[in-house]
Structures are given as C-alpha cells and as structure tokens.
C-alpha cells in the first residue's frame, strides 16, 4: 500500500503567547518550528500502514524552508521521498493549499491512502483534508485515531463525542488523523535521523492564486481575571471552589 502524509511544521504551540507576534500575514517569534501535533499523528499512521502492508509512504509539505524540519522527521521515520511545495511562509487559503497538495501528490504518482492532520496547529481551519478529498473525488474519514490494513482496504477507528466508532473503507481514500494512543508519533532511530539529514528534499515550485480568505491581523483576546484565594480548611476551600465554578459557568453543578 502506498501512502502520502501531508506534514506541516508550525511555530511551537507550547511557546508562551507573548513570544509570538503577527506581521504581514505571518506569525513570527523567536520560537522554534516543530511538526504540528496532528500532522505527527498523520505521520504515525502513514508509518503504520506502510509497515503493515509492506508498502511505502511519502511526505509532502507546503511552505518555506521552515517546513523542512517536519519533512526530515518523515524521512527519519522511513519516508521513501520528501517533497516541499515551495511557497512563501505564512497563511495560505485552504482551497489553494488543497489544490497544490493534490498536484504534488499527482506528481509523486498518487497513493492509496492520503493522510492529513485533523487541523493545523497554527491557523486551525481544519478543512484542507476535506477539500483535498473533494478535489480528488475520494472518500474521507475524519478524526481517525487508529487504522489497520484489512485486506485491500483499511479498518479505521474514528473519534466521536464521548467515544469512538469503527468501520472499514476501501482505498484509495483520505484520512484526517486525530490524537489517540494509536497515533502517538514514535521516536525515530538515530541512525535513521543521521541518514535522513543526508537525503535530498525534492522541491516543487508552488503557485499561490491569491484567491480566498486572507488574514490581515491577529490578536489574542484577554480573558484572564485576577485570582482569589479561598481561605479555610480543605472542605471549605473545596466548597468555595465549587461555588466559584457554578458562578463562572452557568449550567454546571445542579444541586446544592
């Protein structure tokens, strides 16, 4: 089975908000680029599918040179090929992104399974997988937490509110990966990391149409309030906390 994982490196989502600023459509800051958490889940599923089917997977990213961190990680985890669609860093319209990723996937010869993260960890729109599936005319399973090769298709577990559901899907198909115990990205072996650093990353010229939504500003809303110390013994503190929560979040609690 052949898989393509679409990976995206983003500014470290664990960085303090104050360390990131927004300028001319770009999020900037003295913060490292890391592989997006859900793209990590997608990459893990790609590795698992390739291993289970004795197939292979490729990795594609869209953006500037900052995207190479994620692609190197994919290579270290065994990607047969890594490609970067070269466009300027920053926000990209999801439909534009889906079109360019589709063209890149076609250039790589296509795949049986296309894997996305459920949403990017930075712009957070969560629609690229769906748009890609639409462009490719393929079925989409969103929020996948586990996937197993089953015959010529896949047995898939997907996240739903309060639980999960399982089902089967024939390939080719598109999956968007979510976090779960089965999609936690493994650590690459050091020898593979060392080898990955020597492997080439294929560059494909990208073209932005300029159409679609464009981000012009970004601001964090201030929601924090000064805290209040609840005095008394442990029981009094617990009761005080419960009262505060009832006051702050209408509808919770119920009885006295």
């Amino acid at each position: 089975m052949r898989a393509i994982a679409f990976v995206k490196s983003i500014l470290d989502p664990e960085a303090p908000p104050g360390a990131i600023r927004f300028d001319a459509g770009k999020a900037l800051g003295d913060v490292p680029q890391v592989l997006g958490p859900y793209e990590g889940n997608a990459l893990e599923l790609a590795v698992q599918i390739a291993e289970a089917s004795q197939g292979e997977f490729r990795a594609v990213a869209l953006g500037g040179p900052e995207q190479e961190a994620g692609l190197r990680k994919a290579l270290a985890l065994g990607a047969a090929q890594a490609m970067r669609v070269d466009v300027p860093s920053g926000f990209h319209d999801p439909l534009d992104t889906a079109r360019q990723l589709k063209a890149a996937a076609d250039a790589l010869g296509g795949a049986d399974v296309y894997l996305f993260g459920r949403q990017a960890g930075d712009w957070d729109q969560g629609v690229t997988a769906g748009l890609f599936a639409g462009l490719a005319g393929l079925p989409l399973v969103p929020l996948v937490q586990a996937a197993e090769v089953a015959g010529a298709g896949l047995k898939v577990r997907r996240e739903i509110a309060g639980g999960y559901e399982e089902g089967e899907i024939a390939v080719p198909c598109v999956l968007s990966a979510s976090n779960g115990p089965g999609t936690l990205l493994r650590l690459p072996k050091v020898k593979d990391v060392m080898l990955a650093n020597r492997k080439p990353i294929e560059l494909r010229a990208g073209a932005q149409s300029g159409a679609g939504f464009r981000v012009s500003d970004l601001k964090a809303s201030v929601t924090s309030r000064a805290g209040r110390r609840i005095e008394g013994d442990l029981k009094a503190q617990a009761e005080g906390l419960a009262q505060e929560l009832r006051r702050a979040i209408p509808g919770i609690g119920g009885g006295a």
Partner: protein, 650 residues
C-alpha cells in the same frame, strides 16, 4: 636446641601432593582463561595517568577503605584478608624450607611468626568467618543471597582453618613439641587429645589422614576460585585499578558517525572494564542497599544487574544483552551513583546502564513516556520543560540582569539552566541567586535566549546523538562568550560544562553557586547572619557524589546563621531525591523515591530542608509537603532571606 619443626612430619610420600597440585594449576589456569576470554571481547579504552589509579588501588584494595565503611562485616573482611595473607606467606615459608632447602623454619622466626602469628591469624580467620555466617544466616540482611555457594565458600574456609589447627594439635600431642606453647591454639587442642586419652598410634593415623584431607580440600578450594565469587581476590583489585580515578568522570563520548552500533547490545559493545566488573562482583549487596530504585520497589537491583550480565557473559556471550536486561530495569536507574560509591571494588554500574540505554534509545527509538517528551522538547525547543509558559528570560523580569550580546566582554556568566528558567519553583531560587550576585556588585550576565539545555537529560536517557549536538553548540557558544568564570545553580549543568563537555573542547572555570557563595562569605563580600532556623541539608547526587562539593553548601548555611542537623545519609552517602536519570520528567508510582528521602529529612525535626539543585528542590518540596514537613528552600534563597538587609558591597 634451636627451636624448629620437622616439615612434613608423619607424611611419608608427601611428594605425591604435587599430582593434585598440578591438577589444581591446570583447573585454575583454565578458569582464569575462561574469564579472560570474555574480558578480551570488550572495547579497550586508554588508561591515562597511572598515579591516581595506583592511589585508588592502595586505598580501596590495600586499605579496604570502602569495605570498612560497614564496621562489623568490614573489619571481619579485613581480618580474614590479613589472616589468609599471613597464612599464605606461612605456606610459602614452608615451601622455601622444604623445596628450596632454606632453613627458615627455625629459631625465633619459627616461634614468633610460623607458630604464634599464624595461630593468631587462623583464630582471627575463624572468628571472621563465624561473623560472616552469623550475619548471612542469622541476621539475614536483604542484600545478601543465601544460595549454596554463599554457604560453601565460608564453610570450606572454616573447615580448612579448623583442620589446620587439628593437624597442629595432633603433631604437638604426638611429638610432645617443646615449643608447642607458641602455637597456642594447637597447644590447647593437644591437651584435649590428652584428656580424651587418644593413643599415639591413633593420633598418627588421624594426623596423616587429616593432612591429606586438609591438603585436598585446600587445593580444591584454590582450584574453585576462578569459578566462584572468590575470584574477586584478583578481579577486585583489577576492577579498582581500571575504574575512573576521579569522582567527576562522566560517560564516554563515542563518535556516532563511525560507530558500528550505537550503544551497547552485545558484550563486545561494553568495555574491558565493564566485563572485568562482572567478575569482580562479590555479591555483597551494598549497591542494592543504597539504590533508590530498589528501595522504592522498581525493577532494578544494581547487584542483580551485574549478576545477570555475568550470567549472560558466561552462558550466551554472543547473544544480545536485551535478553538479560529488560527495558524497565534499565530505565529505572536514577544515575545517582550511590551504587558505585558503595561498591568496595569500584564496579561502575551507571556507564553500563547508560551504554545499554543508548542502544535502546538510538537504535530502537525506545525511551519511556515522559522522558521521551522531555528529550523531544530539548530537540525542538532547547529545553525539556513541556508546557511551560515562560521564556528563557521570564524569571529575571525586573532584576536588571543583562543578556550577553555578541562582541561584548563577559566577566561572570550565570548559567541559569532550564529548570531555573522554566520551572516556577526553581525560578524563585534563580532570582535569589541573581539578587545575591547583583548585591555583591558582580558584573553578571546571562545567555538568556541563547542559552540552551546542556543535554544532560538526553544523555542520561541514552539519546547521545541529541546530547552531542547540544554539547557542541553550547561549547561553541561559550567559547565565543569566553567568560572569566561560569556560575551555575544546577549541579547537572555543572557536571556537563565542567566535566563532560571536556570531550568537546570545553575548558572553562565553572563553579556551583554553593562554592561561589561560600567563598563570598569567607572573603566577607557577603556578611554573615545569625539567628537562623534549624535546617537539614539534602546533598544533590550530582553535586556531592559526582563533584565532591560537600562542605560549601554547609558553609553557606552556616553563613546564613542556620543551625544544621544532618540526616543519617549525607555527603557522598546521600540518598537520591528521585529526579536523576530523567525521572524528573516521568510519572513515578508509589512508593516514590522523593517520599523516602523527604521522610528522612522530616524526621530530623528541622524547620527548613535545604538543597542546592533545582531538581532536588522540586522533588523534595513535593515529598516534604506530602510528609507534612517543613519548608524546602535552595541555599541561595535561605542566604538571600537572611542577609539581604546587611549585604556588604564591593
């Protein structure tokens, strides 16, 4: 008449003893060869200067300085070693007399050495062996096993010594030896034969039979030495000689680009020293007794680790080490080195554990949860504290400390460390230290955004590749900064920059803040305070055991006017807080190591528990809180609290 003794009296045909002796030599030689064959598989490391090694050999093997740390069994061991040393010399004297014709078995030497001294030695040996047997089978300490060889070895020695005395007594009895009183034990026993009315012919027959039994038992015992833990007679001193002679020596820094295999998964990946260590283990259990992992019920006993590796080395030497040592055992270690400090023969457990971790981490990508995320944090953002909302400089907001800028000189560089920068509790300690330095008028700078993790958690986790990248980057940066000295509050950073970075070209003056502050107190740059609280001090492993900094933190506490009460385990014998080896970033089940240590601290009745490591600060704070005990503070916080109003500026 000159006092003397007829050698081989009553033993006609004694020359036949050379037949079993020849067998002994062959069996013994083969046993040694078997061991050597395993050692020769190991990687050879350069020995370096001999003098410190010889000094350590004299202290640890000659004077048995570590053995006697445990009084009862220690002194018994020394007594046994001296006794058998003397008895061996006594046997050589007999050989010189009979085989080389040197008339040494006569005169005062015969009376005072061969008779009196050797009787004292034999008696001391018997008492020592009885102590050993009573301790192992009477007291039944947890660290000692009670398998059949554990009984066989002391019991055989006891039989050899007792039969030796019986032979002596029969000779004295049968010959009416006029100098028999010098052999006072044999003489006393001889009177027993008289009381039992043993006939002389019977005494002669018993003596002759017993002589051959004694000889064959002694030869069998000698032949068994290379096949038993008694081989530590040879491997113990060898392991001591091959051990790293300085306390601060760290781990080796392999060239990962050229290494055939990353880390150790076969005997051939270990060093000769590692393999000698396996055969040097006396199974005394001291390492296990002091191990925080073992004490807290984790699946690691340093003793069993060595015994499992030894079993593996001698039964399936070409098989992977993974068959002998499980991952949960390897990753249970806190790398505190208490085991190494306790080991009488200087077995180095931690380098073996880290070498095997390297294989798991780098060749197989296996690092336990929590620690893996910390290592990934170092790789991605230069520190292991995931989820921290602080930046590298948040802790110093409003303090007036300057970040170093390229091209500017730097006198004192404060290496804050990741904990001081990102951990809320350690940030307070960092601020106290910065306040102290600034109050002294120090031209102190920090690297701020340029500072990155030393890589210590990655190295201890086995991720040597990431560690070496961090080390090289940090050394290059520090060489560019070229500070006159570096002060750090983190013993793990101290260990890296001062000791382990030497493999990457570092040669900086690095001091721990305890050393810096104690010097400032001595020179009067900080005035002493009085009226402090009752305090106990927890020695961080990487400061005390790794770097030998024991007195300086106590001098700081004394300078702060605190009244120090020691915990039972302190100094180089301190007990780990449970944070080392990457455990600061892992979930630990009960009983937790920090609770065990915190209880010791709380039991002193101190009002304040002091420490000098940001990781210990966190672990002890957590543990002491759970034990319902006192406040936990870094020594810098205590000193700052006590002296902030009376600081003497330059």
């Amino acid at each position: 008449m000159t006092p003397h003794r007829v050698v081989y009296w009553n033993i006609p045909g004694h020359a036949w003893m050379y037949l079993p002796f020849a067998i002994l030599v062959i069996v013994f030689g083969y046993g040694v060869y078997r061991r050597y064959r395993v050692w020769s598989i190991g990687q050879r490391r350069p020995l370096g200067p001999l003098r410190p090694r010889l000094g350590r050999l004299l202290r640890h093997a000659g004077l048995q300085s570590r053995v006697v740390k445990r009084r009862m069994q220690g002194y018994a061991h020394v007594a046994l070693a001296v006794a058998f040393g003397l008895l061996f010399i006594g046997t050589l004297v007999v050989m010189l007399n009979s085989d080389f014709g040197l008339p040494v078995m006569q005169g005062a030497f015969y009376l005072w050495f061969e008779s009196f001294t050797l009787d004292v030695a034999g008696l001391a040996g018997i008492i020592a062996l009885c102590v050993f047997l009573w301790r192992r089978y009477g007291l039944k300490p947890k660290g000692l096993s009670r398998q059949w060889p554990d009984f066989f070895v002391p019991f055989s020695l006891l039989v050899i010594l007792i039969t030796g005395f019986m032979l002596q007594s029969l000779r004295i009895y049968a010959t009416h030896d006029p100098w028999g009183g010098y052999s006072f034990v044999g003489y006393a026993l001889a009177s027993l034969w008289g009381a039992l009315h043993l006939g002389i012919p019977a005494a002669l027959v018993i003596h002759r039979s017993l002589w051959w039994f004694h000889l064959l038992l002694a030869f069998s015992f000698l032949a068994a030495i290379p096949y038993s833990k008694l081989f530590h007679l040879f491997t113990g001193p060898l392991a001591i000689f091959l051990s790293e002679p300085t306390r601060a020596s760290g781990l080796d820094s392999p060239n990962l680009e050229t290494a055939e295999r990353l880390g150790a998964n076969f005997l051939s990946d270990l060093t000769v020293k590692d393999l000698v260590d396996l055969d040097a283990c006396t199974e005394c259990g001291r390492c296990q007794d002091v191990c925080p992992a073992f004490a807290s019920g984790k699946p690691l006993s340093p003793k069993q680790l060595i015994l499992d590796l030894r079993e593996h080395a001698h039964t399936r030497p070409s098989e992977p080490l993974q068959l002998a040592i499980k991952d949960e055992t390897l990753f249970a270690c806190t790398t505190c080195r208490a085991c190494q400090e306790a080991c009488p023969v200087d077995i180095e457990h931690v380098p073996k554990i880290v070498a095997m971790r390297r294989f798991r981490a780098m060749e197989e990508g296996e690092i336990p949860a929590g620690l893996a995320e910390a290592v990934q944090g170092i790789e991605e953002r230069g520190h292991p504290f995931r989820g921290s909302q602080a930046s590298r400089t948040t802790w110093m907001d409003g303090l007036g400390i300057h970040e170093w800028e390229p091209g500017t000189p730097c006198d004192t560089l404060l290496w804050v460390g990741c904990a001081g920068a990102f951990d809320p509790r350690a940030q307070k300690a960092a601020r106290a230290l910065a306040n102290l330095l600034l109050s002294m008028g120090e031209d102190v700078q920090v690297l701020g955004r340029r500072e990155s993790c030393t890589g210590d958690p990655a190295r201890r986790a086995g991720q040597e590749y990431l560690y070496q990248i961090q080390a090289q980057q940090n050394v290059e940066l520090l060489q560019q900064v070229a500070p006159r000295r570096i002060v750090t509050m983190c013993p793990h950073c101290l260990q890296q920059i001062k000791n382990e970075y030497r493999d990457f070209g570092a040669d900086f003056e690095v001091v721990h803040h305890s050393e810096y502050l104690s010097t400032a107190l001595i020179t009067g740059r900080i005035s002493r305070a009085a009226g402090g609280k009752r305090v106990t001090y927890h020695d961080p492993c990487y400061l005390g055991r790794y770097n030998g900094v024991i007195d300086a933190p106590r001098e700081v506490l004394a300078g702060a006017g605190m009244d120090l009460t020691e915990m039972p385990r302190h100094g180089t014998d301190s007990f780990c807080c449970g944070a080392g080896g990457g455990w600061a970033f892992r979930e630990e089940g009960a009983p937790r190591v920090n609770r065990l240590r915190a209880k010791e601290a709380v039991d002193t009745g101190a009002e304040v528990v002091a420490t000098a490591c940001p990781f210990c600060l966190n672990m002890m704070s957590d543990g002491v809180r759970a034990e319902g005990g006192a406040e936990v503070q870094d020594i810098a916080e205590i000193l700052w609290e006590q002296v902030s109003s009376t600081l003497v500026k330059d």
